[in-house]
């Protein structure tokens, strides 16, 4: 096989910017997805013992979260990105008749700039965040449920409220157990961001497609980006390992 370096050389700025875009997108999605997943996960595990609040919680929190999680885990991310980009975003910020524009929440000019400059990026971040939130909520649920019931009971009998029990007792312990699956999830997000290339997100995969189509050869660009993706996920896994060790230390005293 003859490997033509000039294909990469010709497009190297696109590859570098693409790499930066991939990192930006991943970072944002991991942070937003974790926050969103935490909210959903806490919602999913919330429960009340008595009376009407039990049914209200079931109807307004638990079931909506269940349906949300099943919907986002049950459809391909690629399809979700397409739906967000071609249905949800035009519905919200289309300069012509978008909901936010008609309601004067954002001006036509802003909508135009948002759509043309950051359209693909926003759509991609929203879609991946919504998707990751569904998976991460289940990680939180598993983490929270893995903590012994006695912990909650002890905290509550000390007079702590439900939320401070969660924040000060349950979540710190659960978080340590959740680190490995959360790390997995971050790696998945990094790889999944490549799907954004289909809507014009200028990431690594986009650079490969562009260079590949111009030269009519996909060997070089895809081999190169697979190595880059691998390096990125490898570094990420090292980071997760390091964090696991750190948190394990704080447990030992």
């Amino acid at each position: 096989m003859n490997f033509r370096w000039e294909i990469i050389k010709d497009y190297y700025p696109l590859f570098i910017e693409g790499g930066i875009m991939t990192i930006k997108c991943t970072l944002l999605c991991v942070i937003l997805g974790t926050c969103w997943g935490l909210i959903l996960g806490v919602g999913r595990t919330s429960h009340a013992k008595h009376g009407i609040s039990k049914y209200l919680l079931l109807l307004l929190v638990q079931w909506p979260v269940r349906i949300y999680v099943s919907a986002f885990r049950g459809t391909p991310l690629f399809v979700q990105i397409m739906v967000v980009h071609f249905v949800l975003m035009p519905f919200l910020i289309n300069p012509r008749d978008g909901l936010l524009v008609s309601d004067n929440l954002i001006s036509v000019e802003t909508a135009r700039v948002l759509r043309t400059q950051y359209g693909a990026f926003i759509s991609c971040v929203i879609a991946i965040t919504l998707n990751a939130g569904a998976y991460i909520s289940e990680i939180f649920r598993a983490g929270i449920q893995s903590i012994d019931k006695g912990q909650t009971e002890a905290a509550r009998s000390l007079g702590m409220s439900y939320f401070s029990t969660m924040r000060k007792v349950i979540l710190p312990q659960a978080f340590r157990r959740m680190l490995p699956p959360l790390g997995n999830n971050a790696i998945a997000i990094l790889k999944d961001s490549s799907l954004g290339a289909a809507i014009g997100l200028a990431d690594l995969a986009y650079a490969a497609r562009t260079a590949g189509a111009t030269y009519g050869s996909y060997t070089e660009p895809y081999l190169v980006i697979s190595v880059v993706y691998w390096c990125m996920t490898f570094l990420l896994s090292l980071l997760v390992q390091y964090m696991e060790k750190r948190f394990a230390k704080s447990d030992s005293h």
Binding site: T116, A120, I199, Y215, Y218
Partner: protein, 257 residues
């Protein structure tokens, strides 16, 4: 008893006949990406149709070979030649020098005329004006080459999409300010989507480029066959017929030298 033997004899005979028939006529596997109406698209029976498909069928007829058409995604379509999955690719491929490093091309079979599509409120009247805007193109298309020259091929003002319908929907929803694409495909999209009408801007400065049929590098025998077929259908009027079927009466004269 005898009837069984006779039936077997006929089965074997028919197998033999069909085998020798196919041995006489070579069969080539033709790849084409089915998302480029009216050049190639898949109809509801999952058969490929379009201008390109008619052209390759006409060439196969005059050059006396069989073809097997396979819908092949544009991404990676060139690699299928190299690894032998396809013998011929006809998929609205613009002949460029860079691609000539990877595949060989037939003579040109279609002049790819480019058009700028914009929404009415943008002040775009020539390709130079594009430098102030976000411009969408189909990845690796003729338009990609042209716009890359103006804005710089690594510019973030160029957004590349998989196919023309995707590109034009993005334009309609103002994800881009302008789109550049093949006249035929853009016009066809507007015909199919009457609610989505764009301003079309023609510019004589678009470099004339042509579509060619791609084959594996060094397959000169097949290349000569395609070229002679192309010349034959241009001479006998088949090309004009096919052109009129998909486009209009302004049949171009091709540089078939």
């Amino acid at each position: 008893m005898y009837s069984k033997i006779i039936i077997r004899f006929f089965i074997i005979l028919s197998l033999f006949v069909s085998y020798t028939a196919s041995a006489e006529k070579p069969n080539y596997v033709v790849g084409s990406g089915g998302t480029y109406r009216p050049f190639e698209y898949e109809n509801s029976n999952k058969e490929l149709e379009g201008f390109d498909i008619d052209i390759i069928k006409a060439i196969a007829k005059v050059e006396d070979f069989n073809i097997t058409l396979i819908n092949t995604p544009w991404e990676g379509i060139f690699a299928t030649l190299d690894n032998g999955e396809r013998d011929i690719i006809i998929s609205g491929i613009t002949i460029t020098d860079k691609r000539k490093g990877t595949v060989d091309f037939s003579l040109p079979y279609f002049p790819a005329e480019q058009v700028i599509a914009t929404l009415p409120h943008y002040d775009i009247s020539s390709i130079e004006d594009l430098s102030n805007y976000t411009v969408g193109v189909v990845t690796g298309s003729t338009a990609d080459t042209v716009v890359s020259k103006i804005l710089g091929r690594n510019s973030s003002s160029i957004k590349r999409f998989d196919n023309t319908p995707l590109l034009l929907q993005e334009l309609y929803e103002e994800g881009i300010n302008a789109a550049v694409g093949d006249v035929g495909v853009v016009k066809f999209y507007m015909k199919m989507n009457p609610e989505k009408q764009f301003n079309l801007v023609y510019d004589n400065n678009f470099e004339q480029q042509f579509f060619g049929i791609a084959i594996a590098k060094g397959n000169t025998a097949l290349q000569e066959k395609l070229n002679s077929g192309l010349k034959k259908i241009a001479e006998n009027g088949t090309y004009a017929q096919i052109y009129q079927k998909w486009f209009d009466n302004s049949v171009p004269s091709l540089p078939l030298e």
